[in-house]
């Protein structure tokens, strides 16, 4: 039996096929839209992480830039500081400075000097860093002895945490680091305007300390500065020279291939391995001191070198051949062409690459741990051979401290580090845009 397709059948099939095609197209377009959305979502999630990261750091860290201090009328009592009256530096050094501040505080709070418990509780409002603070004042100007001066002394970390809301008033007394009496005193001092938060310059000037309120980045900033200087002084000349050779002079042979492979691989070697190299070669073999910023600088130099070489080669490569040909055409030697024409034209690109490499080196932590830069350094290093720490290492050391006050300090230090890197990158971008040249 044969079935003859009637015209209406054909019509129907056509419609069905058209419907099917329309449905299929709709499905395909939906798939298209979904696929595109995956991309949008992926970017959104990645950027959301970035935002969360920054807000966490800022939320935890902004308060580190303010520090609580108590205004006291300190009587620099001559009989207390310098009973002999000879202004002997040994005596001035060893005087009982905390007692001066305590006495001033007792009179403000109305503490009976015979009540030992009250005295101890009152003293707990003061930072242990007061010793250094007052000593510095006296040693700077011994004529102050015998006078009464108004001094903003550092408050204890707990007081600071209380004012910043990290220690809650609602916590039961037995679980609170400050008892009710101390809270009442803090309220009284605040009401009298004697206790206030001031800009925390100590964050930038103090050295290592076990108390959060007297711990600062001073040593770390100096150490990082020494290291950046070493990297700048060594990595830039070496890197530019190597890049010039590879890009302009090197013949294509086994040796230059080997150099290229090495540079590419070095750029991907884990940073901690560079630290092992530094430990084995610079410290154990060459006998350079541990924890010294010179060694840190040398290790970071080796790490930064590939970055600078790669950036410089790209910059040199961007200089058009016509420049070289013109210079050679008027009789310059190859060396003159490179140094008088190619290098100056590639300079903005080289600078940009250098700054980016430096910023990377500034944030590097792991290799510095290997060469013992995790030292407890109180005094400023005067030369790159003395013990120092670095900004990221200081962050690491504070991050592993248990006390609450250090979390704030760690986040504050992170803000400082990120600010430095932001500035460096901004300079790099400005340089690139300012001197970018279209050939």
């Amino acid at each position: 039996m044969t079935i003859a397709a009637t015209p209406s059948d054909i019509q129907e099939a056509r419609i069905r096929r058209a419907d099917h095609a329309a449905a299929l197209a709709k499905k395909r377009h939906a798939a298209e839209w979904r696929f595109k959305m995956y991309g949008v979502i992926a970017i959104a999630i990645s950027l959301a992480f970035l935002v969360i990261l920054f807000t966490t750091i800022v939320r935890n860290g902004y308060s580190a830039f303010m520090q609580s201090a108590i205004r006291l009328d300190v009587n620099f009592d001559a009989s207390e500081i310098d009973p002999s009256g000879q202004r002997n530096s040994q005596d001035l050094w060893n005087a009982n400075y905390p007692k001066l501040a305590s006495n001033a505080l007792y009179s403000v709070l109305g503490v009976n000097p015979d009540d030992r418990l009250a005295r101890r509780k009152a003293n707990e409002l003061l930072s242990r860093g007061i010793d250094t603070q007052l000593r510095k004042i006296v040693l700077a100007d011994p004529s102050i002895i015998g006078q009464t001066r108004q001094v903003w002394v550092l408050a204890h970390g707990n007081v600071d945490a209380f004012l910043k809301g990290a220690i809650s008033r609602d916590t039961p007394e037995e679980n609170r680091q400050l008892n009710n009496q101390q809270v009442a005193w803090i309220d009284k001092l605040t009401a009298d305007g004697l206790l206030a938060k001031t800009f925390n310059s100590g964050l930038f000037t103090f050295g290592a300390s076990s108390q959060p309120e007297t711990a600062g980045l001073g040593v770390a900033i100096i150490g990082s500065f020494f290291m950046m200087f070493t990297v700048l002084a060594l990595a830039v000349p070496l890197g530019v020279a190597a890049a010039l050779y590879l890009q302009e002079f090197a013949p294509k042979n086994r040796f230059t291939d080997l150099i290229e492979v090495n540079i590419n691989n070095l750029a991907a070697v884990p940073s901690i391995v560079f630290g092992l190299l530094g430990l084995a070669v610079f410290i154990n073999f060459l006998g350079l001191p541990r924890s010294a910023s010179l060694v840190g600088g040398l290790v970071l130099t080796l790490m930064t070198l590939p970055t600078i070489i790669i950036a410089t080669r790209a910059a040199i490569n961007a200089v058009p051949p016509s420049i070289r040909e013109a210079a050679l055409g008027v009789g310059a030697s190859k060396m003159q062409t490179v140094f008088h024409h190619v290098l100056p034209l590639a300079m903005p690109g080289i600078l940009t690459g250098t700054i980016i490499g430096l910023a990377k080196a500034l944030g590097e932590t792991a290799p510095l741990l290997m060469i013992g830069m995790v030292a407890f350094v109180v005094d400023y290093p005067r030369t790159p051979l003395e013990s120092a720490t670095a900004l990221p290492v200081q962050i690491y050391m504070w991050a592993t401290e248990a006390e609450r006050g250090f979390v704030e300090r760690t986040a504050g230090a992170t803000i400082v580090l990120l600010a430095f890197m932001l500035i460096m990158n901004a300079v790099a971008i400005v340089l690139r845009q300012r001197f970018a040249r279209k050939w």
């Binding site: 090495n262 190299l277 080796l302 741990l369």
Partner: protein, 487 residues
């Protein structure tokens, strides 16, 4: 003169010699510069290089060798009972001698005599001039310290003399050779070229330094610990030889738990980074308008520029506690330092590595392939999935491997976020540890060197270096091969 003043002096001499050579050449030219073979500056450079280079060379060699020689000489003079002691004890004695030598020059004669009379006062007296001694010095140490000072000053005098002599000789030789026909430019340029070549070998030297130093220390480690036990041991318990602790100094150094932890965390990181990075890359290269791309791409790359210590801190104070609390809500037991939190944060860090490399690779796929696909009626996403991605696949695999090698070698995130317990577990909610964490924990703190406990760090470093090297070489090979395919 100290090394730094010597170098400074050489720098000044360099400038002076340059000026002298320049003016001599100008004098020779007598107003007709063309009569010279090279431009006058090259004569200056010729003279300056001849004057300074030999001296500089000798000074640098001397500076690196003389401390060792002086150390030997002082050691040889130590009394026999001191020499009979162990290497570590002798090193301590030498340290004390060096500290005394620092203090001696700043002391008055009376103080020096007093120390000689009763050595137990030495700490106090030296302390005044800022020199801290670990132990009371013995009388012979004072003599050796004096010898150290004498030798050092003699050595400084000698090198200053030799450097001066070489500079004078070099100067007079080169000065007499300056003539109109001297090919100064060729000489100066070949020296410059030699300098450039030397600079480019630093990369090779660094690699050689890494391999040799790590290998050398690892070999020492394998003297005391069997290679087999290291590679296939499943227990990590290095046992610091603390006094009073039984069981001896020998610990177990099994690599397996560390390697597992490293790969586990890296795998979690890639699980986060690959989908996010790849989809971001696809969107950026195929869909995004140029203006969106100009904003989003640098922002994503900020993620790669943030120091890893910041990620570590972020994981420690935010991600770890967040996961722990979320887990507690869901009835899951998630440790505050878990493989998951370390892997998650590390994944965020390597997103840009995946995305920007994949972006480059996807953009490099020839347009003709896409157009062919569109011509057959495929939609954009079908083209990407069926044509572009398969074509870009080898390159993307390379990018993922490179990102993986970053993850394997990453240190600070895992040090702060992954924990230190060497667990051999498949549970991402428990804490695991990695090779890098153990390198850090074995080498930080005041440890005695040359014990298996510290040397193992180098063996771990060697493992890490080899693993990442293999990943990198393979990945770069794939990427390069792929690039050549379409170029």
């Amino acid at each position: 003169m100290t090394l730094s003043t010597l170098l400074l002096a050489l720098a000044v001499i360099f400038i002076v010699a340059f000026v002298v050579g320049l003016s001599k050449a100008r004098g020779l030219a007598r107003g007709a510069p063309r009569s010279l073979h090279s431009r006058p500056g090259f004569y200056g450079g010729y003279l300056a290089l001849w004057t300074v280079l030999p001296a500089l060379f000798v000074v640098l060699i001397w500076a690196s060798a003389s401390p060792l020689v002086i150390d030997r000489l002082v050691r040889a003079e130590l009394p026999p009972e001191a020499q009979a002691q162990s290497e570590g004890q002798i090193a301590l004695i030498m340290g004390t001698i060096r500290s005394i030598a620092q203090g001696l020059p700043v002391m008055t004669a009376a103080e020096t005599d007093e120390i000689r009379a009763n050595p137990q006062k030495a700490r106090e007296i030296l302390g005044k001039s800022g020199v801290v001694l670990a132990a009371d010095p013995q009388p012979f140490m004072l003599d050796r310290a004096q010898q150290l000072i004498d030798l050092t000053s003699f050595s400084r005098l000698a090198i200053t003399g030799i450097a001066t002599l070489l500079a004078v000789l070099g100067f007079s030789y080169a000065f007499t050779r300056i003539a109109r026909t001297l090919r100064a430019r060729n000489i100066v340029e070949s020296i410059t070229l030699a300098g450039l070549i030397a600079a480019s070998t630093v990369a090779i030297l660094t690699t050689a330094g890494i391999v040799l130093s790590v290998l050398f220390e690892s070999l020492q480690f394998f003297h005391s610990v069997n290679l087999w036990e290291f590679l296939f041991g499943t227990v990590w318990d290095p046992r610091f030889s603390a006094p009073g602790r039984s069981g001896g100094a020998e610990g177990q150094f099994g690599l397996v738990p560390l390697l597992w932890g490293t790969l586990f965390i890296s795998a979690i990181a890639l699980l986060v980074a690959v989908p996010l990075g790849l989809y971001s890359a696809i969107y950026m290269s195929e869909y995004a308008a140029p203006r969106v791309r100009a904003v989003a791409k640098p922002l994503l790359e900020v993620l790669a520029g943030i120091p890893t210590i910041v990620y570590g801190f972020f994981a420690l104070i935010t991600v770890g506690p967040f996961l722990r609390d979320t887990g507690a809500h869901l009835g899951l037991d998630i440790a505050a330092t878990s493989a998951l939190s370390a892997g998650l944060v590390m994944g965020i860090m390597i997103i840009p590595f995946v995305s920007s490399l994949s972006d480059d690779i996807i953009s490099a796929v020839p347009q003709a392939l896409r157009e062919g696909s569109y011509g057959l009626g495929a939609t954009k996403s079908e083209t990407i999935r069926r044509v572009v991605l398969p074509a870009a696949l080898p390159g993307i695999v390379g990018a993922v491997l490179l990102a993986g090698s970053r993850a394997v070698g990453e240190t600070m995130i895992v040090v702060l976020a992954a924990g230190i317990a060497a667990n051999l577990t498949f549970n991402p909610f428990e804490s695991v540890t990695t090779i890098t964490v153990k390198i850090v924990s074995q080498l930080t703190g005041d440890l005695q060197f040359n014990t298996p406990q510290t040397l193992v760090a180098f063996a771990l470093g060697l493992t890490l270096f080899l693993v990442t090297l293999a990943l990198n070489v393979y990945a770069l090979h794939i990427v390069r091969k792929y690039r050549e395919l379409y170029e």
